[in-house]
Amino acid sequence: MATIELRQIRKSFGESEILRGIDLTIRDQELTVFVGPSGCGKSTLLRLIAGLEDSTAGDLLLDGQRINHVNPARRGLALVFQTYALYPHMSVADNMSFNLKLAGVPKEERERKVAEAARILNLEALLQRKPKELSGGQRQRVAIGRAIVRNPKVFLFDEPLSNLDASLRVRMRVELTRLHRQLRATTIYVTHDQVEAMTMADRIVVLQAGSVEQIGTPMELYRQPKNIFVAGFIGSPRMNFLSATLQQNTSSGTMIAFPDGATLHVPLISKSAQAGEKVTLGLRPEHAYLAENSVLAAKVQTVEHLGPESYLHLLSRYGEAMTVRVNGETTTKVDADISVGFDPGSLHLFDKSGLAFESPSMLTTGTGVSN
């Protein structure tokens, strides 16, 4: 049982403010992913929870206890570092039991705990090796083993997969998710990779420039991004953004106009946006298709064949770049003139400050899509 609560956490290094008042609750047993572009403060936030940094202001609570000034070793948290930070002169077993040794745990108990962690992580055959004799994936597992041996209340991972090659990363991702299901420990996982966030998280916290942009399950963020940043960050390839002008607010949606005067009715509404305001239309590449006739005419710039699917990189007739996912066997050629179709229900709309329009039904019922 472990819940972490952050209240108005702020952190400044000299003049620059890295974290600008973070309010957050990490729920018990959940795998929470902090995701955001580099420099958004996600690693600082993790280090702050770990106790490697002190917050400038705010409260950090673990199971209701304020732990701002508790020694990192006494917080009952275990951190897995990006570089693994193994002790090169110690064997795998010594690496894993270093914490217990310092805590004065007797040898037999240490060995028992190490053996147990090694069994979970498939490291039994490697216990006497030195870190330099291990592969990247094995080192990663030792680093996790070191965390497991401590039996922490909360596991903290700082971009643990970014030093691995692509195929190993996919395998470790699955392994980590399995491990989390097995241990059922509260886990915070920091990454800049939205794919890792989407695939692993119970709940994602999107950070940008030291502030929380949105918190939600992966599919909530995918379906209902609160703003244009989250919409662009979650999903791959990125959501297409097209600029337009708000023409009229109706009860069932919003009428927008493209630069050439073509209009489109989007079934989303905003309480604050006014007619004449610049808005941005969002359309995910996987929600677009090739159509006979549509307001979105475009010219094909590049065709990427990935096998199961292909991506057409387009230049719309309004001069904006777009990506559309199509069939893997597509015969569309470069320079072809095409028309992009879409289901109005899959559109996103953002006002001039980047805030998302909402579905009219959501406003009346007040609930989101649950999964």
Binding site: L52, P72, A73, L79, A85, H89, L102
Partner: protein, 300 residues
């Protein structure tokens, strides 16, 4: 008249023993000139009657020089002094050097200037630093220590008479501390920050951090420092010559000063040659043990 040599590719050279040998000749001949020739000459002199005071007595002396040296009461003391000097200075420089390195790894105001100050003794010539210590610090009349002792009512001590070897150890340690400090500081700074943080998360305090994380990391730097210092400290001479002149008696005479005594006080080249061979033997013995205990560290 020019002669055209055929140009050989790397493979051809490697497969042709004669060509390979030819290319090694410059390196081997330099090595030969620099070390083997003097060694052979020393060996040659060690069996000769060769005293500058008696130019007419020449010819082979058999084991005479050896018998003479081994019966010299100064030899055993000189060997002991050489080893004692080396061991003490190594201990002091590496011990203090490690402490200073960890201290200077921390961020504090004026660190840049402080580092330069710590390094400065290394730039002072050995004779100069020995003179500085002899006349300005340890001198029983004018020295700083004498002044301090008098000011608290103690009787000043003539350090080079009472503790000549210890005084020399202090002087040479002062000179070599910067070297140890510098190599150890770079080693301390190369320690991965995340590794230290991991140890902190594991509950390591300052002492555990030093013992389990920093000290093992310094192993290679300590090995290299020990080797290099050993090479230079086996032949300490200027500091002894300037301060105690090896005395009183043989109390501060090491092997290199013993050789000097033979050559320039007794003009006995033959005897000096034997002492030189003892020094070579000692150096090789030490090198053997050092390599054996540190080789593992160096290729780690």
């Amino acid at each position: 008249m020019t002669q055209h040599q055929p140009v050989l590719s790397g493979d051809q050279i490697a497969t042709r023993p004669r060509g390979r040998l030819l290319l090694n000749v410059p390196a081997i001949s330099v090595l030969f000139l620099w070390s083997i020739v003097p060694l052979c000459m020393t060996l040659w002199f060690s069996f000769r009657r060769y005293n500058l005071m008696e130019p007419t007595r020449t010819g082979f002396d058999g084991w005479g020089n050896y018998r003479y040296l081994l019966s010299d009461p100064g030899l055993g003391l000189a060997i002991w002094n050489t080893i004692f000097l080396l061991a003490s200075i190594l201990l002091i420089t590496i011990g203090l050097g490690t402490l200073l390195a960890i201290l200077f790894d921390q961020d504090f105001f004026g660190r840049g200037i402080a580092r330069v100050l710590v390094l400065s003794p290394f730039f002072v010539m050995p004779t100069v630093s020995a003179l500085l210590w002899k006349n300005m610090i340890l001198h029983p009349e004018n020295g700083l220590l004498a002044f301090l002792m008098r000011s608290v009512g103690l009787k000043p001590v003539d350090w080079f008479a009472v503790a000549p070897l210890t005084s020399i150890i202090v002087i040479v340690s002062w000179q070599w501390l910067p070297f140890a400090f510098l190599t150890l500081l770079t080693a301390v700074q190369s320690l991965d920050e995340e590794r230290k943080e991991a140890a902190r998360m594991d509950g390591a305090g300052a002492i555990a951090m030093f013992r389990y994380i920093i000290w093992p990391h310094l192993g290679r730097a300590v090995a290299a420092t020990t080797m290099i210092e050993t090479i230079f400290l086996l032949g300490i001479f200027a500091e002894i010559y300037v301060t105690s002149a090896g005395g009183p008696g043989f109390a501060s005479t090491n092997l290199s000063f013993l050789i000097y005594r033979y050559v320039l006080m007794e003009y006995d080249i033959g005897g000096a040659a034997v002492a030189g061979l003892v020094a070579v033997l000692l150096a090789n013995l030490l090198a053997f043990f050092l390599m054996r205990s540190f080789a593992r560290n160096l290729d780690a």
